[in-house]
Amino acid sequence: MSSFDISVILDALPFLAKGLGLSLGLTAVAMIGGLVLGLVIAIVRLSRFRVLAMLAALYVNGFRAVPLILVIFWFYFLVPLLLGRPVGALYSVLIAFVMFEGAYYSEILRAGLKSVRPGQWQAAQASGLTYLQTVRLVVLPQALRKMAPLMVTQGVVLFQDTSLVYVVSLHDFMTSASIIANTQNRIVELYVFAALVYFALCTAGSALAQRLSSDRQRAH
């Protein structure tokens, strides 16, 4: 390996940017989809409907008991078998990530909802608000505020996990970097660059989480 050649990175930038776009896009979809799904699961788990709550718990524990890579495989290989037609790599990965993150976000949101004092529920219900109004107007805003740092941290982990999509031949940022590294035989340059990009983005995410958490402390 000769001297550090930055031009190989510059030449590959469009290709790498496309990979980064997939990683960030997948992170965004999985975060938003996972939050929505996680919220539904959390509310069901805390509701009075025992059977539904148990099913929701089963879902969460099931997804948290298996590695993400296995979930990706399931949706890529098994779901097409069930449906009788291929789903496509991107869609299977999107679904797998949303369902997987939904399990994790539901636990964060459930902890957040439970951390709101029972008196808040009682006060809201005493004023005639319905259960769903109470969740939406009184409890959830408080829970989200408390949980914002954790949710951002989970997003950082999620962003790193998007590198797993190489198993279904999708080109995320990490996969793109490793393709260039191997085809150009510039392993050091590409892997140093990839590490720097991950480091920068994840540090920014952690800093945001830190700030949200100190904002919260100031507010109380």
Binding site: G119, A124, Q125, S127, T130
Partner: protein, 261 residues
């Protein structure tokens, strides 16, 4: 009922006929532990009833059952002629007609004072934003907190928070107000300002059920006193008589302890 000699509040004798709250045979238990046993009570319009008793006697639970935020196993609750449904969702509309004030205020910490007072007005009573704000401001002026409408609860003292909690309940134009130990969480120097607001409400003829240890408030404002012990209503007496000659041994014991200091 004989005329109430010690109560400063003058009541319209016609109103005494109208029953605002009727509770019949209320029973509740947590698992095997009974917390309320066969409690019955009627409260007429404009009446102020104070509920007292040793801690753990079930009085807080009882008052929370009146508007259905604590589920009960047996019994019937009638508010202004309407049966409170046992299903919590169906009870929401009737619940909105009974104001509730809690020991720990329970203002919503993520909302300003004004938003706290407007929330249920807008989402339950479907009042317009302007209507709700106007109502909130006029009530805030009455309790002397007009300058606090933009503050968040955490920026206010306990006494201020509790007065705002009372305003939040009053903004719904309730037919009755329930108070669950409204001064127990307050520093001593703030109890007076909250009791003053409650006393004024009582004088204006609000129907009130108040769980409290403030016997001074009971003497000044209550028409009747309910004494509870171990989940039972032991005694219901007209205020002056309750303090002068309580009928039950348990009430006598309780009074001797609480009035000793």
């Amino acid at each position: 009922m004989p005329p109430v000699t010690h109560s400063p509040a003058t009541r319209d004798s016609v109103n005494d006929m109208v029953e605002m709250i009727r509770i019949e045979g209320l029973s509740k238990s947590y698992g095997d532990v009974p917390v309320l046993r066969d409690c019955s009570l009627g409260v007429t319009r404009g009446e102020v009833v104070v509920i007292c008793g040793p801690s753990g006697s079930g009085k807080s639970t009882f008052v929370k059952c009146i508007n259905g935020i604590e589920p009960v196993q047996a019994g019937r609750i009638v508010i202004d002629g309407e049966d409170l449904p046992s299903k919590p969702a169906a009870a929401a509309r009737i619940r909105s007609r009974v104001g509730m004030v809690f020991q720990h205020f329970e203002l919503y910490p993520h909302l300003t004072v004004l938003e706290n007072i407007c929330l249920a007005q807008i989402h339950v009573l479907k009042r317009s934003h302007n209507e709700a704000v106007e109502k909130a401001r006029s009530l805030l002026r009455r309790v002397g907190l007009a300058d606090k409408e933009a503050a968040y609860p955490a920026q206010l003292s306990g006494g201020q928070q509790q007065r705002i909690a009372i305003v939040r309940a009053l903004a719904m134009d309730p037919v009755a107000m329930l108070f669950d130990e409204p001064t127990s969480a307050l520093d001593p120097e703030m109890i007076g300002e909250v009791l003053a607001v409650m006393l004024e409400l009582a004088r204006e003829g609000m129907t009130m059920v108040v769980v409290t240890h403030e016997m001074g408030f009971a003497k000044a404002a209550a028409d009747r006193v309910v004494f509870m012990d171990r989940g039972e209503i032991v005694e219901v007496a007209e205020t002056a008589r309750f303090f002068a000659e309580p009928a039950s041994e348990r009430a006598r014991l309780f009074l001797s302890r609480i009035l000793a200091h």
